[in-house]
């Protein structure tokens, strides 16, 4: 413990040196911008800026890149809440209740809760990273394809909690999402599925173009299609900050989201994306008023936003402790280290203590910088809502197209987004919810790959899922959860969900 404190002191001396501090700040600012720009997520931001770090020393480069990463997680919530456009894949869930809060005039509160939740999650999980990195990393590596598959099945269970209305409609949308997720090269055989000769479709439908289309564009189209122009929400300064009741509602979800996000984040792969989905489902399950979810529940913003930030720090655990490229973003950051002649491996913490502890300390500083940066911005961002729709919407549309194009420089992605916009509009008119589609698109390729990798490992024997302790435990818990929800379904017949659906029918 004493040694940790000593190391941390060394780390802070690195992190607070003016030049490192400057790069952390620059990283955070760029990250926030990257997050705010619809479509451009942290991976795209880091990739674009990686070459710019080649001239710096390793510590500065890593500190700046990490700043972009968690800065983007902060920024991602902004457009989700204000305009229902997910800045990156992890803030898809924030679109639902965050935007609903904004419609009720609570945009400022939602933004503030997202910022504070992100700060708490970021800081607490850095403590986790600092104290537990080596043992946790060793545990995280035990997650191979079978464990990953079992974990992702939880993601499928989440689908059941995503709908505020009819269960059948929501499952239909989930299936549609899973089908859309099948587009692309089959990783196991190299076969092009549903690509119709378009090479770009080999990578499948990107989550970001799909989410921006289904949420953002559909919202714009729907608003434009209304006979009466909706009134512009004019936020009052007094209402910018969350009320005491809202804080109380947010506290639990922030805590749970932090722990959940950190744990999911350390697992190698792209599981960090599902951390916000799982957190949303967890909060809905625990909530005393699940019917509020989808209509502006504070917990529906606080939980997922904390989870996705905690997952960010979690992702650094295997990367720093073992030098493992545990996901796309850590892989880019490891490359940045290699460019500087630092070979990332299990000996990194011992061989490069200044880099590791400087990095850890800079994350404490960076999270604080982001909080200070973001809270005053709440007032400015909220004022964007005052812009009349005839000006606001074309501008959003332009930025969405630019952002989605910029990620891969691919026009195909823009077409996917536009197509999904139209689909989202039609589905809205038929009162289907579109969030399950996005979750399906996220989960389908990951589940399929994990399942088939597992079966390749076992030469086709399904027993592999029950011979490995972690996978077996996860599967048993998942099955138990499913049976429990079936029980209430049978016993009560009509639960709140069914009642809501009936009520909706009455409305229309």
């Amino acid at each position: 413990m004493l040694e940790t404190l000593h190391n941390l002191a060394v780390g802070f001396s690195v992190a607070l040196s003016p030049s490192v501090l400057l790069y952390a700040f620059v990283g955070c600012v760029i990250g926030t911008l990257v997050g705010v720009l619809p479509g451009v997520g942290p991976l795209a931001g880091i990739s674009l800026l990686l070459p710019a770090t080649f001239g710096m020393d390793a510590t500065r480069a890593i500190v700046m890149l990490a700043g972009i990463y968690y800065g983007a997680m902060y920024g991602g919530s902004t457009t989700s809440i204000l305009m229902r456009i997910p800045g990156e894949a992890a803030s898809v869930m924030t679109c639902i209740d965050g935007y609903a809060m904004a419609r009720k005039g609570r945009a400022g509160a939602a933004l503030a809760i997202a910022a504070v939740g992100s700060y708490v999650a970021g800081t607490v999980s850095v403590v986790g990273l600092m104290l537990l990195a080596p043992p946790l990393a060793a545990f995280a590596l035990r997650f191979g394809p079978p464990e990953y598959f079992a974990l992702l099945l939880f993601g499928l269970l989440v689908l059941a909690y995503m709908s505020a209305g009819s269960m059948v409609k929501s499952l239909a949308m989930a299936v549609l999402g899973l089908l859309l997720g099948m587009v692309g090269i089959d990783q196991m055989s190299g076969y092009f599925r549903f690509a119709y000769g378009v090479v770009e479709l080999g990578d499948g439908l990107g989550v970001v173009p799909v989410a921006v289309g289904l949420f953002g564009l559909a919202e714009i189209l729907a608003t434009a299609g209304q006979a009466v122009q909706p009134k512009v929400i004019e936020p009052k300064l007094r209402e910018l900050l969350p009320s005491r009741a809202e804080w109380r509602e947010a506290a639990g979800p922030i805590g749970r989201g932090t722990v959940l996000g950190f744990l999911v984040g350390i697992i190698p792969g792209s599981a960090h994306i599902i951390s916000s989905f799982v957190s949303y489902a967890l909060e809905k399950k625990l909530s005393r008023r699940p019917q509020e979810f989808g209509h502006g529940a504070v917990a529906g913003v606080a939980g997922p936003e904390s989870a996705n930030n905690a997952a960010t720090s979690g992702a650094f655990v295997p990367m720093l402790a073992l030098g493992v490229p545990s996901g796309p973003i850590p892989a880019v950051m490891l490359a940045a280290m290699m460019v500087h002649g630092v070979s990332p491996g299990p000996l990194l913490i011992r061989q490069q203590p200044e880099l590791f502890w400087g990095f850890v300390a800079s994350m404490y500083v960076g999270n604080l910088v982001l909080l200070i940066l973001n809270l005053p911005l709440v007032g400015i961002f909220v004022n964007l809502l005052r812009v009349p729709y005839p000006y606001l919407y074309p501008a959003i549309l332009t930025f969405s197209i630019l952002g989605v194009y910029a990620v891969n420089g691919s026009v195909v992605d823009v077409w996917i987004m536009l197509g999904m916009g139209v689909l989202g509009y039609v589905l809205r008119k038929l009162s289907f919810e579109t969030a399950p589609i996005v979750l399906g698109v996220v989960l389908a390729p990951m589940i399929e790959l994990a399942l088939r990798q597992s079966l390749a490992m076992s030469d086709g024997h399904y027993g592999i899922f029950f011979q490995r302790p972690i996978a077996a435990t996860l599967l048993v818990v998942g099955l138990g959860m499913m049976l429990l929800s079936l029980r209430t379904f049978i016993r009560r017949g009509l639960d709140w969900r069914a009642r809501m659906a009936l009520a909706e029918k009455g409305e229309s």
Binding site: I46, S47, L48, L50, P51, F54, L141, R142, F143, G144, P145, I185, D186, Q187, M188, S189, G190, Y191, F192, R193, G197, V199, E200, G202, D203, P268, G269, P318, L322, G323, V324, P325, S326, P328, A331, V332, L334, A335, A336, M338, V339, H340, G341, S343, P344, G345, P346, L347, L348, N408, G409, S410, L449, Q453, A456, M457, D459
Partner: protein, 327 residues
């Protein structure tokens, strides 16, 4: 007066014409050159392309930029250069997958995204033989142990790869056929996940570029058994090559080379070739490659063509031996 004026005008005109003609002759490059890296930033192609671009910029005294055009395991970026205007301003930094992708397209009877003969080779920049690594807690102490065991238990020893028909898969496939063994393939989505899988102990073996596994070998997590190169890897002097062990078919390099679209004028190609030759001798370039622990293996002209042809033949053969896997 008028005559004098006419003389001056003619002289000026003459000078202008002469200079513009001279300009036309060595005008290349008169605007920025773009090198397309068909893989994401941080990968081998990207990390090689950037120092090459920086060094070429110095030689050509004209901007050279790198663009990552990713997608479909590199096919998107390679296709974009194959159909680019052949003027020398759009170049491709390709890896061995350039000869694999068209071959895999053939296997599936689909219209190839591009073919190898759509490119004119400029130069080979680096070539790194893959090495066979296994988790340190596995019983195999040598490549012979490994091959022996694989012969006794066909299809039981598993390996991860960067993806089906990917470079790391091909290396393993060439070994399997050369040594007459059968291994169990667990494809992953890229070299990073493949490395993560072996570090977690979820597979038994991996063919990998030496630089990324060196720290794990030094830390005692992985053991290197043999290399696919012509010579031993400098950083692993005790690790034999498969060639030494009597498996000459197991030869494989992760190489990076620069290409231009086929119809690029010969004059421009010559200029580019000499620029790359000077670039690889640039001290900054050498230092950058040194940090990446990637040996420079400069080849051009006939020599590169021979290397490229032999490699393409081996890989095409490898792809055909894997054949079409039922989806």
């Amino acid at each position: 007066m008028a005559a004098a004026l006419r003389f001056v005008l003619l002289a000026v005109l003459g000078v202008l014409v002469a200079s513009s003609l001279a300009g036309a002759q060595d005008a290349f490059p008169s605007r920025p050159i773009t090198i397309v890296a068909p893989f994401p930033p941080g990968g081998v192609a990207d990390l090689t392309a950037r120092p090459v671009a920086a060094a070429m910029e110095k030689v050509l005294k004209s901007p050279v930029g790198v663009v990552n055009k990713t997608g479909a395991a590199g096919a998107v970026g390679m296709q974009s250069v194959a159909v680019a205007k052949p003027d020398g301003y759009t170049l491709l930094l390709a890896l061995s997958s350039i000869s694999i992708i068209p071959e895999a397209d053939k296997i599936f009877d689909r219209k190839p995204a591009f073919t190898v003969d759509q490119f004119a080779p400029i130069a080979l920049i680096s070539a790194d033989p893959t090495v066979l690594v296994v988790p340190a807690d596995k019983p195999w102490k040598s490549a012979r142990d490994f091959i022996e065991d694989a012969k006794n238990r066909p299809g039981q020893i598993s390996f991860s790869s960067s993806g089906i028909y990917g470079t790391l898969h091909m290396a393993m496939e060439l070994l399997s056929h050369g040594a007459g063994i059968k291994l169990r393939h667990v494809p992953h989505a890229g070299a990073g996940p493949a490395l993560t899988a072996i570090l977690g102990g979820h597979v038994d073996a991996l063919a990998s570029g030496p630089a990324v596994v060196l720290p794990h070998i030094k830390a005692g997590k992985l053991r290197a058994l043999a290399g696919w190169g012509d010579k031993r890897v400098a950083a692993l002097p005790d690790v034999p090559t498969f060639k030494e062990l009597g498996y000459p078919d197991a030869e494989f390099y992760i190489w990076a080379g620069l290409f231009a679209p086929k119809a690029t004028p010969e004059g421009v190609l010559t200029r580019l070739r000499s620029a790359v030759r000077d670039a690889v001798n640039d001290p900054d370039f050498k230092a950058a490659m040194d940090k990446l622990e990637t040996p420079i293996a400069f080849k051009q002209g006939e020599e590169f063509q021979r290397f490229f042809d032999a490699d393409a033949r081996r890989l095409a053969d490898g792809v055909r031996k894997v054949g079409r896997i039922a989806p």
